[in-house]
């Protein structure tokens, strides 16, 4: 029983990480038709931004409010990079899919190389609060606090995103744009502003994943974003392009499946099962769990 609770909660922690990366990726693809391979870079910027701020930014540090400030800095850095990427590199290439893929793949490679050149290729210990290194007893299982932090953060982000999509004007534009971008334009709305906004939201969520992923894993390394991005793409496809709630369901399914199969089967078999799940969903329901609708 203890093992099942522990596996379920660590699986949900992993799911939370996937969701934070996948939600923005899904909205960007659903609205703007951009397959953003550079999304992992935003995660890297968030992780390294938090790591750097904790050691160098006045007032920031590994504990208490100082840590909150460090995470806020990392998230702000990730958001800024995402907005700049959209404005400078993606905007001139809307409707040019091949060029978009080339640019975002190139950017993700260049981003990792830049992080490596600046701070080295080796993983660095992540400055994290003392309490996050401990465990909490839940139903007899000793669950790492870093994982619980990720679950809470992802739940808050999910609630905030759904409220944003449901109650704000831009949320309405994004939901409509995911369905039919051309018709949004034909109602007199400059949909490009919504593109920038979804990049900003996606960048912020991914950067938060980077910061909290650093807390969870205890280290930060240049390639972290890229490896998480593969599973985030799988989550997006399973959940349905453009659906935040679909991404949440898919992330939970992928995280739990991976964790349980890796434990009860052989290590690595969980990853294979995730790919098999992707294949099954593509065969039975190609539009994903939620279809192409930005649910609020």
């Amino acid at each position: 029983m203890n093992t099942i609770v522990l596996l379920a909660l660590t699986g949900l922690g992993l799911a939370a990480l996937y969701f934070l990366v996948a939600s923005g990726l899904s909205l960007v693809f659903g609205l703007a038709d951009v397959l953003n391979f550079a999304h992992g870079l935003f995660l890297g910027v968030g992780a390294y931004g938090t790591w750097w701020a904790a050691g160098n930014l006045p007032g920031a540090g590994p504990e208490g409010l100082g840590f909150v400030l460090a995470v806020a800095f990392g998230v702000a850095a990730g958001t800024l990079v995402a907005v700049l990427v959209e404005l400078v590199l993606i905007r001139p290439l809307y409707s040019r899919t091949i060029e978009q893929v080339l640019v975002t793949v190139g950017l993700s490679l260049a981003g990792v190389a830049l992080l490596q050149a600046t701070w080295g290729a080796d993983a660095r210990p992540f400055p994290r609060p003392q309490w996050s290194r401990g465990v909490t007893g839940i139903l007899g299982a000793q669950v790492p606090n870093g994982g619980l932090l990720l679950i809470v953060a992802a739940a808050v982000v999910l609630g905030a995103l759904l409220a944003f999509l449901r109650w704000t004007r831009y949320g309405l534009i994004i939901r409509a744009g995911v369905e039919n971008r051309e018709m949004v334009t034909a109602l007199g709305i400059d949909v490009r502003k919504a593109f920038t906004l979804v990049f900003a939201i996606g960048g912020a969520a991914a950067a938060l994943a980077g910061a909290l992923g650093g807390v969870y894993f205890g280290t930060v390394s240049p390639g972290q974003g890229g490896s998480l991005l593969i599973f985030a793409f799988i989550v997006v496809v399973i959940g349905g392009m453009g659906s935040v709630i679909g991404s949440a369901y898919a992330a939970v399914a992928v995280g739990l499946l991976q964790q349980f199969v890796n434990y009860y089967g052989a290590s690595g078999v969980g990853d294979l099962c995730v790919v098999a799940l992707l294949a099954v969903v593509l065969l039975l329901r190609p539009q994903g769990i939620a279809g192409k609708v930005a649910h609020a």
Partner: protein, 242 residues
């Protein structure tokens, strides 16, 4: 002679290597309904969409489209719409996942007061069904929503593409009645296949054939001549009432 509200000169549209429009020229009068007619695939919808800057990816539109002395072709669609070009697309294109009220709210323009009174006076059902998802409306109700969305704002010209397509005869009559009332206050460029509706609404007609203008003149003159309707549209003079 009255200045036209819209003037299209030598408009050519090429999509995927095909010349859909080949130097089309026509004008839209500042009052009444100008109808674009022609057999399937002659470029009616393409003309409407080119005016609004909605030529698809990889396509190219050339020529001159003027409204109020301003060339429209190089301007982005959302600006044209804000400047008073209202568009009701061929397949309604309501946002199926949004409610009726959200579909209408999306059409509100910043800095103007949305005319909900006008819309609900014409379509009281939209008021009653505000919380219903647009995707669950009938075809006729979706058409009402598509027209209502445009009428929420004051427009200088309405572009309406096949508003009666696929609708039941009773609903066709209702849509025609609404458009007749709308056309009393704003000029309309209409694409329509139903000649009974055309007879009821149109003041002027432009007939396209193979991407070119085959005939232009008064709608009454066209529809009053069995020979013209047969040679240009391939049908006899309309008898059905709308």
């Amino acid at each position: 002679m009255t200045e036209p509200i819209l003037s299209v000169e030598d408009l050519s549209v090429r999509i995927a290597g095909l010349h859909i429009l080949q130097g089309v020229s026509f004008t839209v009068a500042p009052t009444g309904v100008t109808v674009l007619l022609g057999r399937n695939g002659v470029g009616k919808t393409t003309s409407l969409r080119a005016v609004l800057g909605l030529t698809p990816r990889g396509g190219e539109a050339r020529g001159t489209v003027r409204m109020g002395g301003r060339d429209l072709l190089d301007r982005p669609t959302h600006r044209l719409v804000r400047d008073g070009l209202g568009y009701v697309p061929e397949d309604r294109d309501v946002f199926a996942g949004l409610t009726v009220a959200e579909n209408l709210r999306l059409a509100e323009r910043r800095g103007t007061t949305p005319a909900y009174d006008r819309v609900f006076a014409l379509f009281p059902e939209l008021d009653r069904r505000g919380r219903q998802r647009a995707g669950s409306l009938s075809g006729g109700q979706q058409q009402m929503l598509a027209i209502g969305r445009v009428l929420l704002n004051d427009n200088r010209l309405l572009l309406v593409d096949e508003p009666t397509k696929g609708l039941a005869p009773k609903v066709v009559t209702e849509v025609a009645e609404v458009l007749e009332r709308v056309a009393e206050s704003v000029p309309v460029l209409l694409v329509e296949q139903n000649l009974a509706v055309v007879r009821r609404l149109a003041t002027d007609a432009v007939v396209l054939s193979a991407g070119r203008v085959a005939w232009a003149g008064g709608a009454g003159e066209l529809l009053g001549s069995a020979e013209l309707t047969r040679s240009l549209l391939g049908v006899g003079s309309p008898e059905v009432r709308a």
